[in-house]
């Protein structure tokens, strides 16, 4: 019995990392995913910030799931998410101003990242706190991995560096386009193509963006 529940917990955790990866499978939260992933550090910072908001909001939503009447459900969730985003915003300011300036207004835009509202609505509001947190943590880590995959590629090609460390020597010619807006679209597009090709080979039907229709 215990093994079973552990396996289930593991499933909850892994769902967001692989099967339902928010970036590569569901193509959600693209606005921060593309805007701030010009370097691996930015990508990780954004990923962690989102994970923090995701886990905290899901925990709170799950704790309050019996209290909140369904009429004001969404409004409540939004207020909760906005609260934690504000918290993260201030924490990043306190930790590193450089990071804060690199991420800019996109930290505050986490509020409208549909992964969070989606998880709060679809999962946390129906599950006990522990499960909700595990699921949220998985989603957050999946999102972070996705961002890192984007930011890493863009930094390597666009600046010849990873985490600010030069990889190919001083004479490397950076592909500036990769850190510019078109590069963001191309890199994410290329990742999706890669996954589509793998899926096709394995015979899994192609994924379609479900979009964000909460309201």
């Amino acid at each position: 019995m215990k093994d079973l529940s552990q396996a289930k917990n593991f499933d909850e955790f892994m769902e967001g990392i692989w099967r339902q990866n928010p970036v590569f499978v569901m193509v959600l939260g693209m606005c921060p995913a593309l805007a701030v992933t010009v370097s691996a550090v930015n990508a990780l910072a954004m990923g962690f910030a989102t994970t923090f908001v995701l886990v905290c909001s899901c925990l709170l939503v799950s704790l309050m799931r019996k209290l909140v009447p369904k009429e004001v459900r969404i409004a409540t969730y939004i207020v909760i998410i906005a609260t934690f985003v504000t918290v993260v915003d201030y924490v990043i300011q306190a930790v590193s101003l450089e990071l804060y300036e690199a991420l800019g207004a996109f930290i505050q835009l986490i509020v409208v990242n549909c992964i969070i509202l989606g998880r709060a609505e679809a999962h946390a509001s129906k599950h006990p706190p522990a499960t909700a947190m595990l699921n949220a943590l998985g989603m957050g880590i999946g999102f972070t991995i996705g961002l890192f995959a984007l930011g890493g590629v863009r930094e390597i090609l666009g600046a010849g560096k990873l985490f600010g460390v030069s990889l190919f020597g001083a004479n490397f010619q950076p592909w500036v386009v990769m850190v510019l807006p078109p590069g963001g679209f191309f890199v994410l597009g290329a990742w999706l193509l890669l996954f589509a090709a793998i899926r096709r080979k394995k015979g899994i039907p192609p994924a379609e963006s479900k979009g964000c229709h909460v309201a």
Partner: protein
């Protein structure tokens, strides 16, 4: 977001209001807590970053105070910033003498607004250093304004003397084509990054034109301070 949606509700209104109130109160507490908890550290971070930039521009500086200039004159910053006030920082050397003044300037560049901080020395009435506060210019081209040595050499002694009446600059700061600088008030553009170079020049010129005529007559106020 059904914030104001007058949906026919099964739950009594009082309960709705109570829940929303509870959530808001909880969230308020969390936010205020976070704000209070991080306020000091964030403010310290901001001050350190600013000081680092200012001290880089004015190497002799060891401490600084923030000022603002309006049409009525200059006064130490603090409290409400007046509309249209220009912010600047007076930097002092170890012995308390005025080491220089760091002023903010901004102009539209190639991609977005380029914000700079330049060091003004009242003794030679010239600019002797710049630092970039924020730029989103193209990497490898526009960001040469931070790295290009030949370009930075323009700001060793850039002439910003005022005219006789102390009403405006005697000579406008001008950005000229790469390799054709002839006068001390000209800036030699970076070849291939002309737009960004021009933005730097415009930022300095606009800010100096506005600030220096107010600042110079009252420069003694700054010297006396802290000495």
């Amino acid at each position: 977001m059904n914030v104001a949606n007058p949906m026919p509700s099964a739950t009594p209104a009082a309960s709705l209001v109570r829940t929303l109130g509870l959530v808001s109160a909880l969230c308020g507490v969390i936010i205020v807590g976070a704000y209070q908890g991080t306020y000091e550290a964030a403010a310290a971070n901001r001050r350190i970053a600013l000081e680092r930039t200012v001290f880089k521009i004015i190497p002799a500086a060891k401490s600084m105070t923030e000022w603002q200039a309006t049409a009525r004159g200059i006064r130490p910053a603090g409290g409400e910033a007046a509309e249209g006030a220009i912010k600047f920082y007076a930097a002092y050397a170890e012995d308390g003498s005025l080491a220089g003044i760091a002023v903010e300037g901004a102009a539209k560049g190639y991609a977005d607004v380029v914000r700079i901080l330049y060091g003004y020395s009242p003794d030679c009435q010239c600019i002797n250093g710049i630092g970039v506060v924020a730029t989103k210019e193209t990497p490898g081209i526009g960001d040469k304004i931070i790295t290009d040595k030949a370009f930075l050499a323009n700001f060793k002694a850039l002439d910003v003397k005022l005219d006789q009446a102390l009403a405006k600059l005697a000579n406008e700061v001008k950005v000229v084509k790469h390799g054709s600088k002839t006068d001390a008030w000209q800036i030699d553009a970076i070849s291939g990054a002309t737009v960004t170079s021009r933005a730097v020049g415009k930022a300095i010129n606009d800010s100096a034109q506005a600030l220096l005529p107010i600042l110079l007559p009252e420069i003694e106020k700054l010297r006396k301070k802290e000495s």
